[in-house]
Amino acid sequence: MLDMALPLIMDALANAALIFFVAVGLTLVFSVQRILNVAHGSFYSIGAYIAASMGLWLISAGLNPWLSFPALLLSAALVAMVLGPLVERTLIRWTYGRHEAIQILVTFGLFLILEDLQRLVFGVRSIYQDTPMALLGVTEIGGIFYLNYQLLLIVLALAVLFGMRFLIKHTRLGRLLVAVVADREVSLAMGINTDRAFVLAFTLGVFLAALGGALATPTTGVAPGLGAETMVLAFAVAAIGGLGQIEGAAVASIIVAGAKVLAVYYAPAFDTVAPFLVMLAVLLVRPNGLFGTATTRKI
């Protein structure tokens, strides 16, 4: 029984890891900025495009293929550093404290712009670049081969989860963020630079989305429409876990990925429905998500 279930579990966990990167960024931005960023999925696909292009360039330039690992990280950091502050300062800042409809529409406008910019820059063909996955090879356990890259994804997701926990609970920046989330006005009165906190939180959110995209390229490749697809999935995960809940997002990614993998094995027609059915079921019983509080003012 176990040797049958183990590949399923590995598959689900690796999937969960990829979803987690995006969802945790979405949930972080929501908890700090109180904004549901519809353009979040675009940061994921931009990260994926940059990583894939960088990987292809590395190979064609004849450099050491192992450099493609730092390239994945670098491309995510690049996307975050360029787009994060730019988008926060110009668009997102304007929507603070406004009606949800406006916030959703402004970020939807941004989503449309970013989608077409990707088409214009990277073209409409899909790009596939799996050097990092090929380099790591496979491990054999009990006669079944596992992709080492999947293991790496799971380890990285855990690192992000604990890193975020450490950041928020044990660093100065984290405490500043918690203070801003709890009460923006009082934080401002106490001399906290809330503008800076918002830029940092948003940039971190963009980085996590782009990192998810970059790490996903070796397994799935990247094609137009990826951003829109990822967006709704991240949405479902963040909502199931409770918007603003980092640990909630982790548990929800595992639930959603598990549901997806089970669906793929037992009812392939329903693999895309599964995450949303779970989301509906959870939200109808607990509108604030599994770990959400009534106010969702947590981080």
Partner: protein, 320 residues
């Protein structure tokens, strides 16, 4: 207000001569009016302060209902199709709405999104029933027992859509003036006060949600018979986003706003496709941002601003 009616009459007359004056616009306008119906539905919910990123589901439901009726029962009269699709979509809307109108703000938006994505996934996966991602072909319907050529049918459909638009606009104006119409707006302004007046917010919203679903279904059915093909993409979440965009671009202040937005967008789209095919979404996104920043009452606000200063609602006015 007199000037506005004169303007509308002139615009309506201009639209009515389109099949003769500019035949290439006829199909574009039919689709624009179809999407306009869905956008009016979205605008109605926006008046209550609720944003639905899932209304394309009802648009698709209307379209698929029309396709199913033709393919399964063989009944293919245009009016039967339109009425039946609207009623079926209204029923789906009432059913879904009964659960969803309990939620507000972001939760309402997200649940609509989730339901619509389930619907989208089912449309693309249940190959045996819905034709999967290939969709279904819809044969040219008959009109009151008369079999028409595709070209003849398209002209009839255009005028039917135009007449329906006038009827819906007239009914919509009356609805917004009615106690129920005011109650919808009052949910946005202050829901608690509404409940203190003895009005059930749940019932008001359920009625509004059902009407908005029915309107989207009507639009979907018109699109289905006009295009002759229905696809799961009709229900995708970006389509829902476009419907909200259309409503806000046109303005949610009156019934005319979403139609103005829809016609404006479709015409610009048709013109822009040749010039900048890959940048179309970019243009639209930028336009949306400009409208939100500088024209909070939408394009319709331009009309009312010059004619009448009192009767328009702004998107996302501060809650009092």
């Amino acid at each position: 207000m007199k000037i506005i009616y004169a303007l509308f009459a002139a615009a309506f007359a201009a639209l009515a001569i389109v099949p003769f004056a500019a035949p290439w616009l006829q199909f574009v306008l039919t689709i624009a009016i179809a999407k306009g119906f869905a956008a009016v539905g979205v605008a109605l919910l926006l008046r209550a302060g609720l944003i639905s990123i899932g209304h394309a589901m009802f648009y698709a439901a209307g379209a698929y209902t029309a396709a199913f009726i033709v393919l399964w029962s063989g009944i293919s009269d245009l009016f039967v199709l339109l009425i039946a699709s609207t009623l079926v979509t209204a029923a789906i809307g009432a059913l879904v709405g009964a659960y969803l109108v309990r939620y507000r703000a972001i939760f309402f938006a997200m649940l609509n999104l989730a339901v619509s994505m389930v619907f989208f996934a089912l449309l693309s996966k249940l190959y045996g029933i819905t034709g999967g991602t290939d969709g279904l072909r819809v044969p040219v319907p008959t009109v009151l027992g008369t079999t028409l050529t595709k070209a003849g049918f398209d002209i009839v459909l255009f005028y039917v859509a135009l007449a329906l638009m006038a009827i819906i606009a007239g009914l919509g104006v009356q609805f917004l003036k009615s106690p129920l119409g005011h109650a919808v707006g009052a949910i946005h302004t202050n829901e608690v006060r509404l409940e203190y007046l003895g009005v059930s917010a749940w019932s008001v919203l359920l009625i509004a949600y059902t009407i908005s679903a029915a309107l989207a279904g009507l639009g979907g059915a018109i699109a289905a018979v006009s295009i002759g093909h229905v696809l799961p993409e009709y229900a995708y979440w970006t389509e829902s986003g476009h419907l909200v965009l259309t409503a806000v671009l046109g303005g949610i202040g009156g019934v005319a706003g979403p139609f103005i937005g829809s016609i404006f967008l479709e015409i610009v789209h048709t013109v822009a496709v040749g010039v900048a095919h890959n940048a179309w979404n970019l243009i639209m996104g930028a336009t949306l941002l400009l409208v939100i920043f500088f024209l909070p009452q939408g394009l319709y606000g331009l009309v009312t601003k010059s004619a009448d200063k009192t009767s328009s609602a702004k998107l996302g006015e501060n809650k009092s």
